[in-house]
Amino acid sequence: MTQYEPVIGLEVHAEMLTESKMFCACPVVDSTEAPPNTTVCPVCTAQPGVLPVINRQAVEYGIKVGLALNCTINEFNQFARKSYFYPDLPKGYQISQYEHPLASNGWLDIDVDDETRRIGITRAHLEEDTGKNIHMGSSSLVDLNRAGVPLLEIVSEPDMRSVEEVEAYARKLRAILVYLGVNHGDMSKGVLRFEANISVRPTGSDEMNTRTEIKNLNSIRSLVRASQYEIARQIKLVESGGQVIQQTMGFNEESGKTTVQRSKEYADDYRYFPEPDLPPLNIDRAWVAAIEKTLPELPDAKRERFIDELGLSVQDAGVLVADKATAEYFEAALKADVDAKTVANWVTGELFRLMNAAGVEIEQVKVTPEALVDLIKLVEAETINNNTAKEVLEAMFETGHSAGEIVKEQGLAQISDSSALEAIIEQVLEANPEPVEKYLGGKEGLFGWLVGQVMKETRGQANATVVNQIMRERLEGMRKA
């Protein structure tokens, strides 16, 4: 039976975090929270006689993204009108770029199953966002706060061959936008939206078959679910002798299904033409060079450095750089004189576990990087052992108190004093004559059990190294006697 593979390209719409809109001075606000129509003006509501003026910062952000995605930044830029009617688009056209985009011909490397794949970036162009429609049943309400917010559309080549690659691409691109400081990556605010172009073909073939386009995917989870469904739908259709029709689909979150929105022949008749209200935009090479110098260390470079210079595992380094805030947290901790691998273990292990359980992001964590280092120092000084430290971290996570405070309050300091431990060990040996006898008779495995009893007696606070040593000496003494 024929095996099929998907061929997927993504269009990502990313709002640029400027102060003002793309073509007017209206403030860019959180469109999910601002009162409706409070950041609007004659330009972004398309009153007669107004003219757009390009926001320099938006262009600079677009150039940053283009450079980070290894694109050519085009010298000649021209905005274009994309005409269609929709109530959230006051002008009846969107100012976008068509034949002369800001950036083109780049790539983005993604990692899936320990393999790196290079996904081509066709182009990245600037445009303006639309307003928002609130559907009320018998009518719709329109809020234009978002209309005119700078938007960068990043279009990939149809280079992805699995849903895993789609997810990796989306996450990587999101991380880069956040690292660059051009987008905050919070998809619940609608600042990052996806469209997937999907077709299927027999695995290994190089034919390009008819594709469908799934619009308005507002989270990576929706992108993944919609892609899975659409791939399965197309394969089933082709296997039963049917043909995929080129059309625009929507994704229904509740049913998890893609549904036809409109057929392509009308939808694509946008009648692009050069925007007469905006003169051409020439991008000065010196400007691009200056912007290139301001690019921060990006996830891939950071990961390499974490592996090469700090000796982290590929796995740990990958997890730490995947989110900018996590990487910053980790690096803030390293400002102290502390072992990088130990910090990495604490962050990717216990801290992540606590964050997942509480459902919080690293920005909300009450344990500062400095406080985490203090905890690690207490372990290094053998004031507490590793297991106690996990409990202390949990308390720090909940209360925001320092490790020292918690150890003191709860009397958790490790017992390293050998005379105190000797007494407890003696007690344990007396209380458990049978296991002791079996151990002496050759059941070596019981050693750990006996040590465990001591830890239990001391509520885990005994210094395990000291306990091991004394216990060993004591039992050997009994053997000889």
Partner: protein, 95 residues
């Protein structure tokens, strides 16, 4: 060149115009005549001339990214035929 009735219907749909059959015929003739007139430009050889993007002798006009409040909702909504909760009310949108 004469436009087909399908082309006229398509253009009308793009412009959200509802035309009667009689109007479609009439506009077909009128549009065809306009296009024929404009088509005379095609006779000129422009292969060596770069497309003109703008009639003004300026380029690369940008403004600083400084935010300034525009108009209050009442004013922006003042000319709207219908509104609710400071939003424009429009007929229900069907995808």
């Amino acid at each position: 060149m004469t436009l087909s009735l399908e082309q006229v219907t398509h253009i009308a749909e793009l412009a959200r115009l509802a035309l009667t059959d009689e109007e479609k015929e009439r506009f077909r003739d009128q549009l065809s005549a306009i296009l024929d007139y404009a088509a005379r430009l095609q006779e000129i050889d422009t292969s060596a001339i770069p497309p003109m993007a703008n009639v003004l002798p300026v380029d690369t006009v940008m403004r600083d990214d400084v935010a300034r409040l525009g108009l209050p909702p009442e004013q922006i909504l003042a000319n709207s035929p219908d509104q609710e909760d400071n939003m424009f009310r429009v007929p229900v949108i069907l995808e």
